[in-house]
Symmetry: C2
Subunit: 223 residues, 2 copies
DNA sequence: TTAGAGTTTTATCAAACAGTCAAGATTTCG
DNA sequence: CGAAATCTTGACTGTTTGATAAAACTCTAA
């Protein structure tokens, strides 16, 4: 009999290899065109196999998509999970921002996959967001609130703070096409991310209001 | 003969009405599913007319899309255009942020349409970005630089500053599904945007580092 | 080495899809 | 009014798409 992915059964070498190939190709397609815009044909082609063969491993388009999401969500939430009560608040936040920016740099397709899904109303992962994302954010919001109460960071709505970290960092993955048009070709991808990191540090730590309220040349912060 | 939309010719009442209906329905569809995910059938259905009738006004799917983009881009760039050298830098920036946030609140479909397009690599509007967006951003970046030289705002890369304003404000339109999961049903859309406005003002003006470097309760800024 | 589990392919299907065509219905305007 | 211009529709075409069936092939473990 067939050993479908759904059953709890040892996977063959070929199975593991092919599921890997399929999920990678699917990430490419889904992140570039969204669920509806992606086609099984293209995923199969990109994975280097025939469509019926692909459908042998995942019976339906949606199954591929769900397997992808399930595999990626944990990785995606990891940086926030690492936000810890142990360290000092400001350095902790800085390092969370850095980790998120690194993820945008290293996993842009994953970022776009989630962006596409949320953009379209999250119809396929709303439940996951409620059970996985919401509790984690609630927990970390509580942590942020305790830092605010202790006067370690400015008092703001911690959930909006988290939104702003997500949006500013993921922007460099999700809106890369636009970023490239505006920044031009000078300075490669690494340079762009260095600049972004430097800017975001200034923004999140000090904002735009100059320290010396007079009219002199302001100091430029270093990393 | 037919008076197609492409020709320079006076438009009939019916033509104007129907093009309007079509573009509105198309905005709904394209913003929710992206270019490939949207279908002419659904646009026609949503516009309340038959598919051949819709295709009488716009011969191809891409024509609808391009007409939409052309109609919206100007509106979309308006807030940035209004960023002016006349006013004081910090209030000017504050009001730019507020205008962008208002657009996210009032035109979420437009925001998602652009987000979808950029997310998918901007294949259909890259040229427009280069000819319309880039020069505008360059001009405003120069303005921001002059403010920085004068010590009126902190010295940062002005283009990254603009990115962060775009991303944080548009986040509330583009990622609304996620925002709603996290903020919960309490506080309607207006409340959410008020909270966001308050938070973003603090972030962009002062950042998170508390003013009093000691350990006391920090002041909460008011609007 | 060989039987059977596991994998791949060819052929196929029905639905969805973008787009066409010509005929019929309606509006506009002299 | 009435004819020309404009608008609308049903029927249709060729293609793409998600999905299935079954035969043919390959691998693996006893």
């Amino acid at each position: 009999m067939k050993a479908r992915a759904t059953e709890t059964q040892r996977k063959t070498r070929i199975q593991m290899e092919n599921e890997e190939k399929i999920l990678d190709a699917a990430l490419e397609e889904f992140s570039a065109h969204g669920f509806r815009g992606a086609t099984i044909d293209r995923i199969a082609e990109h994975a280097g196999m025939s469509k019926p063969n692909l459908l042998y491993y995942f019976r339906r388009k949606q199954d591929i998509y769900e397997a992808l999401i399930a595999r990626l969500l944990d990785t995606w939430l990891e940086p926030l999970r690492e936000l810890d009560a142990i360290g000092d608040p400001l350095p902790e936040l800085q390092s969370y921002i850095r980790r998120k920016l690194e993820m945008a740099r290293d996993f842009p397709r994953e970022s776009r996959l989630f962006a596409n899904e949320i953009l379209q109303g999250a119809p396929r992962i709303k439940r996951l967001l409620e059970t996985e994302l919401k509790p984690l954010v609630d927990e970390k919001a509580e942590l942020l609130r305790s830092w605010m109460k202790a006067g370690k960071i400015n008092a703001v709505d911690p959930r909006h703070l988290i939104f702003s970290i997500w949006s500013t960092t993921q922007h460099y993955a999700d809106f890369d096409a636009q970023v490239q048009v505006i920044l031009g070709p000078d300075r490669g991808a690494e340079g762009r991310f260095e600049d972004a990191a430097r800017y975001l540090e200034t923004l999140f730590l000090d904002g735009l209001r100059p320290k010396a309220s007079g009219g002199e040349t302001p100091r430029i912060r270093n990393l």
